[in-house]
Every structure is written in structure tokens, then in C-alpha cells.
């Protein structure tokens, strides 16, 4: 599959030809179920769009039954940026319902396969994005990451996935899951493509009050030769599978070979991260999803009266995982529990952020696993608590709002990709991409 960098040099005719061929390829690989449907806007380089980013006149449903019938009447800011920079939204890709999940199994449109093994999950919630790029069915894709939803599927599918610092990319037009954690990010075949796409979608936006208002770009100064100090977390990796441990060791060697300095650091038990995340995310989500009532748009299931209509629409329109999180969110916000859960979780976020800040005082990047194992098989993470626990490596990054990038390091004995992530200081995407590029070149992963 042609890279994004190469594709940006194609002319209009070449692009049209390419897109026709791509359509055929996608059609021929329907079993993968990465794409929900394929529509195209504009004449630029095709980019697959996760089903929670508004593209005008597209059906945008966040992988849910409750939004069937809704047609987006406006473009998300990131889509405008794509269109302004020679890129084209091309195809809507699959996701866990409302971005709540780690396997894409909860989608209304059915599960997506991992391109490397049809009986394994592609990860989630941006499973469709990762599978499309990983299967050579997309040049690049946009995903969203709230607790690891870009980085983990990227690692499972053997591609690059990057989550920007919170506030770097506008959330205007991203169907909200957890407002203080969500970020849109690039999912690509390589690090440089991710940097290109990141530069295009990031920047100030007056429509998003939480936007950081920063317009600096990474491509002009991209430098894989910079020598960095990188922290590794030996205790952290202890609980990961052997595949992960081996990849971790390999990556450390590669970084050393590239001339970087490796230091050892520790972080607090990730079990607190999981708690702070699931309390914060569900509280914000329960209110963000309260608008889905079938009144103004989407799929309404009528009742005898208004109340019944609300109950029917939502009970039939949401899947089990979404329901669980809505109930949980209302629990942690309800009177009597708010202080002990929601407030406590926010305080914990400060502790996590401070912990990272301390490490970053004398370190440029942190090397960390993305998931405890390679992509699991379908149904393996059916118990919610098991699924939540699999987020242990990605979640604290969202809680602290830091930027992180997941890239493939190696494959295990079964041919399943193993990815690892680099984490940088807030707003230090330059160092993140520089380090990632260096690591990518050193490990020379073969897709």
C-alpha cells in the first residue's frame, strides 16, 4: 500500500484511479468488516474515517443502533482540515459502540477481524481504522483515543497509532465519549505518515473551548538522529505476557543501538489508573450520551407516552457495554457517591499527572507496553472487568493528557504483531515523533 507521503504527490487522475481500485479491494475483503460503507468526499488522498467523526451528509452512528437514521449535517473540524490539505474522507470504518470497548466486538455492525488472524480481534475501539490500514485497505485512517482506543488496536494490527496531547486536536465534531479524555489521532503505516497526518489535523479551533490553541508542527523539524533519554518501566512489564516482554527487551536494545540513553523508572500500581479512568469516563459519558433520546435524530422506538419513548429508544438502541457504563456513570455522580468516587478520581488524576511530570523532569520519553498480550481471540474479554484490566498500559496517558505513539516492534511466533508505545511530555509531540522515527528505523519491522 502506497504511503501517505507518496500519495500526496499523486495527481487527480492517479488518485481517482487509485480510489476505484481501493473500492474493489475493500469489496473483495468484506469479511474483514473494517468498513461500514464507502463514500467519498472531495478529490484528495483517501483517508478512512472512524464512525464517530462527523462528515457532512454521511450516516455517522458511533457504531450504534440508536443513531441509525441520523445524517451528519456538518463536518468536524478535523474533516475540514483534511479537505483543506489535499485529503479526502473515504469510507466509514468500524468501532466499538460509542468508543466503549477494546475489541470492536460491541459494534452494531458486527465484529471486525484482525488482518493477521481472522479469529482474533483487531482491538478497539478504533478497530476498523486499525484493521483497514493493517490489511492494506487504507492509506491511513483517523481514530479516536480515550483510554487507548488508537494505540491498542494499532499495536494489535501492526500499524502506527498516535494520540496527541489533550487539546492539540479539536474535538468539534467528534461524537463525545469522555470529554476530558477524548482525542482524535492518526493511524498510519509508518511514523512519518503519522506525523504528516498529525500536522494536518492538529491546531487551534475556536469551536472547541478545551482546545490548547497551539499551531506548531512537527514535520519541519522531524529528526530521527536526536539522542534522547528514555525511561523504561521494568516492574510494569512484569505483568505482561512473554511476547510483550520479549518485544520490550528488543526495543530497549534497539534504542540503545540508536544511541539513546536508557534509564529505569517506576510508576504506581496501574490499578488506580483503571479506577480513576472508569469513574471519570463513565461519569462524562453518561451525560454525553443522555442526548440520545430519539427526539431530534436517530432511531426512535415509540411508546404510549414520552417517558416510555425515552425508555424504549434507549434500552433498544444501546448495547450492553454502553448500558453498563451509563448506569455506572450515573452511580458515581449520584448524590451520596459523588465525593467518594468522582471527586476522588479527579484527585487521583492529579497524582498520576504529577507522577509523570516527576519522571519527565530528567527524561525525554517513556517506553511502555500498550497491551498485556497480543490481540486476543473473539470472546476472550467477554467479562467487562477483564476487558477493563487490559487497558492498564494506555489509560494513565489519557488521564494525564499526555501524547503517546504506538508502533509495531515485532511479531510473535504465531505471526501476531506486538506493538509498544512511547510517551512524551505534554505538548512535546516533536520529541515523540523524533524518538518514534528513530525506534522505527532501528527495529525495521516487516509488516
Amino acid at each position: 500500500m502506497i504511503t501517505l507521503k507518496e500519495a500526496l504527490t499523486l495527481n487527480k487522475d492517479e488518485l481517482n484511479k487509485f480510489k476505484d481500485e481501493l473500492r474493489n479491494k475493500i469489496e473483495a475483503n468484506k469479511d474483514l468488516n473494517a468498513y461500514i460503507d464507502v463514500n467519498s468526499v472531495g478529490e484528495g488522498v483517501p483517508i478512512a474515517i472512524k464512525d464517530n467523526i462527523q462528515v457532512k451528509d454521511w450516516s455517522i452512528t458511533s457504531g450504534s443502533k440508536i443513531l441509525q437514521g441520523y445524517i451528519a449535517p456538518y463536518n468536524a473540524t478535523v474533516i475540514k482540515k483534511l479537505l483543506d490539505n489535499g485529503l479526502s474522507p473515504f469510507g466509514r470504518v468500524n468501532m466499538d459502540e460509542f468508543a466503549m470497548g477494546s475489541t470492536t466486538e460491541s459494534s452494531f455492525y458486527g465484529k471486525t477481524q484482525n488482518p493477521h488472524a481472522s479469529d482474533r480481534v483487531p482491538g478497539g475501539s478504533s478497530g476498523g481504522s486499525a484493521a483497514a490500514v493493517g490489511a492494506g485497505l487504507a492509506i491511513a485512517a483517523l481514530g479516536s483515543d480515550t483510554g487507548g482506543s488508537i494505540r491498542q488496536p494499532a499495536a494489535f494490527c501492526g500499524i502506527v497509532g498516535m494520540k496527541p496531547t489533550y487539546g492539540r486536536v479539536s474535538r468539534y465534531g467528534l461524537g463525545a465519549y469522555a470529554s476530558s479524555l477524548d482525542q482524535i489521532g492518526p493511524m498510519t503505516q509508518n511514523v512519518e505518515d503519522a506525523a504528516i497526518l498529525y500536522d494536518i489535523i492538529s491546531g487551534s479551533d475556536e469551536k472547541d473551548s478545551t482546545n490548547a490553541g497551539r499551531d506548531d508542527k512537527v514535520i519541519p523539524n522531524l529528526d530521527a538522529t536526536r539522542k534522547l533519554t528514555i525511561a523504561v518501566l521494568p516492574k510494569y512489564v512484569e505483568n505482561a505476557s512473554q511476547d510483550i516482554k520479549d518485544a520490550y527487551a528488543k526495543a530497549i536494545e534497539a534504542l540503545k543501538a540508536a544511541g539513546h540513553t536508557i534509564v529505569e523508572r517506576e510508576m504506581m500500581d496501574a490499578k488506580y489508573d483503571i479506577s480513576a479512568y472508569y469513574i471519570t469516563a463513565t461519569a462524562e459519558a453518561t451525560t454525553n450520551l443522555a442526548r440520545y433520546d430519539g427526539i431530534r435524530y436517530g432511531n426512535r422506538v415509540e411508546g404510549k407516552n414520552l417517558e416510555e419513548t425515552f425508555y424504549n429508544t434507549r434500552s433498544e438502541g444501546f448495547g450492553d457495554e454502553v448500558k453498563r457504563r451509563i448506569l455506572l456513570g450515573n452511580f458515581v455522580l449520584s448524590s451520596g457517591y459523588y465525593e467518594a468516587y468522582y471527586v476522588k478520581a479527579q484527585k487521583t488524576r492529579h497524582i498520576i499527572k504529577d507522577e509523570y511530570a516527576k519522571i519527565f523532569e530528567d527524561v525525554d520519553l517513556i517506553l511502555s507496553p500498550v497491551a498485556p498480550t497480543v490481540a486476543p481471540r473473539f470472546g476472550e474479554l467477554a467479562n467487562p472487568m477483564d476487558m477493563y484490566l487490559s487497558d492498564i498500559y494506555t489509560i494513565s496517558v489519557n488521564l494525564a493528557g499526555l501524547p503517546a505513539l504506538s508502533l509495531p516492534i515485532t511479531k510473535n511466533s504465531e505471526g501476531m504483531p506486538v506493538g509498544l508505545q512511547l510517551i512524551a511530555k505534554a505538548y512535546d509531540e516533536q520529541t515523540l515523533f523524533d524518538g518514534a522515527l528513530s525506534l522505527e528505523r532501528e527495529v525495521a519491522y516487516k509488516a
Binding site: 490553541g213 431530534r296 434500552s315 453498563r324 448506569l327 455506572l328 450515573n330 476522588k344 484527585k347
Partner: protein
């Protein structure tokens, strides 16, 4: 912290969700497990820590009071609304 059927009923009301009979026990179990897990935060000492979290110390941006309305938005939404008439959204009667 135990989740029981009474609590589930209260949460259902707040969420406008109806969990079917055959799924109630399972959901109660799952929620209990999750709540039991997140209780671990009580082990952390958060004395003196700020009760609210924000990524940056910046102030919320202020917008100029200049009207700017794109009529396409409401036209499209009304066109595809589950039930609309004469540019109203129609809902079943509300029991007062």
C-alpha cells in the same frame, strides 16, 4: 460497596434504561465487581489535592456576540428527524 436491585432500579430511572428481567442478575453482578474494584481509590492518600482536574490553567475562550446561523443544519435535521411536522419535533404527550 454492594450493588443491589434497589440501586439498579434507581440507576435505571436516572439513565432512562430498562434492564430486562433475565439480565438483571448478571448486570448487578458485573456492576458490583466493577464498583468493588474502583473502590481501591480509597487506598490513596489524596489529602490536600485539588478536587477538580483540568489539563491547562487557561481561561475558557470568550466568543463575540455576533449572530451566525447556518440554516442547512436545522433543515437537514428536521428532514431526517424521527418525527417532525411543520418544523416542530413531535413527541408523544408528556404526562404531567
Amino acid at each position: 460497596m454492594q450493588v443491589d436491585d434497589a440501586l439498579l432500579s434507581r440507576l435505571e430511572k436516572l439513565s432512562f434504561l430498562k434492564i430486562s428481567e433475565d439480565k438483571r442478575e448478571e448486570i448487578i453482578e458485573q456492576l458490583s465487581e466493577i464498583v468493588g474494584f474502583v473502590d481501591n481509590l480509597s487506598e490513596l492518600d489524596t489529602e490536600g489535592v485539588d478536587a477538580t482536574f483540568a489539563m491547562s490553567d487557561a481561561a475558557t475562550p470568550l466568543r463575540e456576540d455576533t449572530p451566525d446561523c447556518n440554516p442547512e443544519i436545522h433543515e437537514e435535521i428536521l428532514k431526517h428527524a424521527p418525527k417532525s411536522a411543520d418544523d416542530f419535533f413531535i413527541v408523544p404527550k408528556i404526562i404531567e
